[in-house]
Amino acid sequence: MSAASGPEIDVADYRDVWVFVEQHDGEAAPVSWELLAKGRELADETGESLVALVVGDGVAHLAEEAVARGADRALLADDPVFEPYRADPYGEQFRALVEARKPSIVLIGGTHTGRDFAGRVAVPAHAGLTADCTELAVDEAGLLLASRPTFGGSAMATIKCPAHRPQMATVRAGVFDAGEPAEAAENAAEAVESVDVVVAEEDTLSTVLERVVGGVVDITDADVIVAGGAGCEGDVTPLVELAEALGGEVAATRAAVEEGWVEPARQVGQTGKTVRPHLYIAAGISGAVQHLEGMNGSDVVVAVNTDPNAPIFEHADYGIVGDLHEVLPALTAMVREKREVAA
C-alpha cells in the first residue's frame, strides 16, 4: 500500500481510442453508439484506431454492430460472469485489458452504470477521469480535452490528463449524435477479437439478487417537451394533456420528481437528463441553474410562470405570466382545435 504512485509511464506507449459499449440484457445503451460516433472523429484526428469494448454474456452481436458503426476493432469479453453488470468483475477485466493493450483514451457513458464502472476502473489504472463531459476534443499533441459544465452550468471547465494514461471521460447521454450503422458490414466478425476472461465467479464480491427494468421512457429523443416544476402543485394533468396534443413528452424538475408528481426517468437537469428538443415548454419552473443546465440546448424555450420575476423568463424565447393550470389547458384546446380544422 505504501509504494509510491507507481512507475512513471511513457505516454507514447499508449495508443487508440476505446469506447466502452454499455449494454443491459444484450441491448446497447443509446449513449454507447453516441460515443462510438464521437470516438470515430477523435480517432481520425489523432490517426489512431477506434476500438469498441464489449463486455457481457452472449453479446457478440453488439461487437459486430460496433464495427458496423465505425469501430476499427472490437474487443469482446463474453462470459456469464459479466451478466448482469457488476462493478468488480467488469473492473478487473478492464484493468487486465488496459495493462496489456494500453489505450490512450477511454470514453464511457455518463449513466449510473457508466459512472459506477468508470470510478472503479480509473483507480487501478491510475487514469485521469473526468466526469459528465459535454464536449470532447483533442489538441495538437493528441491530448484529450474533456470539457464539462461547472458551477451549475455557468462555466465550462476543460480537463486534461498530461502524464497519466488512459485519459478517461464519462460523457453525458444525448450530447452527441449516434449516426446509423453501415449497411453491409461483411467483415464485421473478422474485426471482433475475443479476449481472455480473467474473472471467476467465486472471486466476485457481490451478487445481483433481482433486477427490475423496462417500460421506462426516454425523454432525450423527444422533439417537444412539456416540463413542470414546483408550480404544478401536485397536478400534472395540464402537462400530460399538452404533451399529448403536441406529440411530445412530459418532463420535470428535481423538485417535482422529489414530490413524486413525475417519475425520476423524466427529470431534466444537472442530476437528471440533458435534453435538446425543438420546443421546451417550462411550466411552473423558476429556472434554477441546475435545471437550466439540462435544457439550455433546446431550440425554442417557452416559460409559463405566475411570478413575473422568475429567472426562467430570462432564459426563454417566449414567456407568459400566468398559472400553468389555466394557460396550458387553454393552449391545449387551441392546439387541438387547429388540428381539427386542418384535418
Binding site: P84, H126, F151, A155, T158, S206, R211, T271, H278, Y318
Partner: protein
C-alpha cells in the same frame, strides 16, 4: 459480528449551492458570499449510517478531508448522531483530484476497520460521483452506488442495497467491507437532537490524521492527481428572444411558427 458494524460516513464541506446564481446577460457566476455547508447529498449518507447502526448496532464515525475549518461538517454529523469524527488534514492533500482523495478516504476507512463506508451520491461543487467507487477500488472492496435503500443481513455478513439503474432498480448483495453511495434524497434525515447538538458544539473534538499517519504522503496532492484543469471558459449564454406575451392566443401564434 456481535458488536455490530463499524460504519464510516464520508462527508464534505462545499459552498452552499443555493447561494450561487448566474447573471443571464454575462453568464458569470455570483457566488461571492456562498457560505460553506455540509454537502446536501451527505445528509442522506449520514441518515443511512445512523439507520444502519440502529438496525445492526456498532458505531458511526464521520470522516472528511480538508483544512481545519472543514471539521464543521464533522460537527454536523456528530450533532445528527455520529459517535465520532476524523479530520484528514495536511498540506500534502492540497490539489488532490478524485484519485488521491479516494485513496486518503480508503486508507482512513481501513484504519477504522470499517465494515461499511457510506457516502453521498456526489458533491454539489464537483459533481463527479467518482470518490465512492474510488474508495472501493483502492481497497478492493465491494461497491453499491446510486443506492436507494439498505437491507443489512449481519448473520450472513452481507449488505443488500437497492440500486437505481437505468430503467428500473436492482437489489445487490455485497460482501463486507462495502462502500455505499446513497442516492440524493433517498431518505429523510433526522433532525439533530438538542443534547447531541450541544455536545457537538462544545465538547466534540475530531481526531486528526495527516498523510503520513496514513502512510500515503508520497501518493496524494496535486503531483499525484492525473487530471489538471486546462482552462475555464465562461459558458456563452444562450441567446433567447425573451419576448413576453400577454395572451395564450399570442403564445399559440409564436408556437405555430416553430412547430
Amino acid at each position: 459480528m456481535n458488536d455490530g458494524w463499524n460504519i464510516v460516513v464520508c462527508v464534505k464541506q462545499v459552498p452552499d449551492a443555493d447561494d450561487v446564481t448566474i447573471d443571464p446577460d454575462t453568464g458569470t457566476l455570483n457566488r461571492s458570499d456562498a457560505p460553506a455547508v455540509l454537502n446536501k447529498p451527505d445528509h442522506n449518507a449520514v441518515e443511512s449510517a445512523l439507520a444502519l447502526r440502529d438496525a445492526v448496532g456498532g458505531t458511526v464515525t464521520a470522516i472528511t478531508m480538508g483544512p481545519p475549518p472543514a471539521s464543521a461538517v464533522l460537527q454536523a454529523a456528530v450533532a445528527a448522531g455520529a459517535d465520532g469524527g476524523v479530520l484528514l488534514t495536511d498540506r500534502a492533500f492540497g490539489g488532490s483530484d478524485t484519485w488521491p482523495t479516494s485513496l486518503a478516504l480508503a486508507r482512513a476507512a481501513e484504519e477504522l476497520d470499517a465494515d461499511v463506508v457510506i457516502c453521498g451520491e456526489e458533491s454539489t461543487d464537483s459533481s463527479t460521483g467518482q470518490v465512492p467507487p474510488g474508495i472501493a477500488a483502492h481497497n478492493g472492496w465491494a461497491q453499491l452506488t446510486y443506492t436507494e435503500s439498505l437491507d443489512p443481513r449481519p448473520d450472513e455478513g452481507v449488505l443488500v442495497g437497492t440500486r437505481d439503474v437505468e430503467g428500473g432498480y436492482e437489489r445487490v448483495a455485497a460482501a463486507l467491507p462495502v462502500v455505499v453511495a446513497m442516492v440524493f434524497g433517498a431518505n429523510d434525515p433526522r433532525p439533530a437532537g438538542l443534547h447531541r447538538k450541544i455536545f457537538a458544539e462544545t465538547e466534540f473534538e475530531p481526531v486528526q490524521w495527516t498523510a503520513a499517519d496514513l502512510d500515503i504522503e508520497d501518493r496524494v496532492g496535486l503531483a499525484n492527481s492525473p487530471t489538471k484543469v486546462g482552462g475555464m471558459d465562461t459558458a456563452s449564454p444562450v441567446e433567447r428572444e425573451r419576448t413576453r406575451v400577454d395572451s395564450v392566443e399570442a403564445l399559440y401564434d409564436h408556437l405555430a411558427e416553430v412547430l
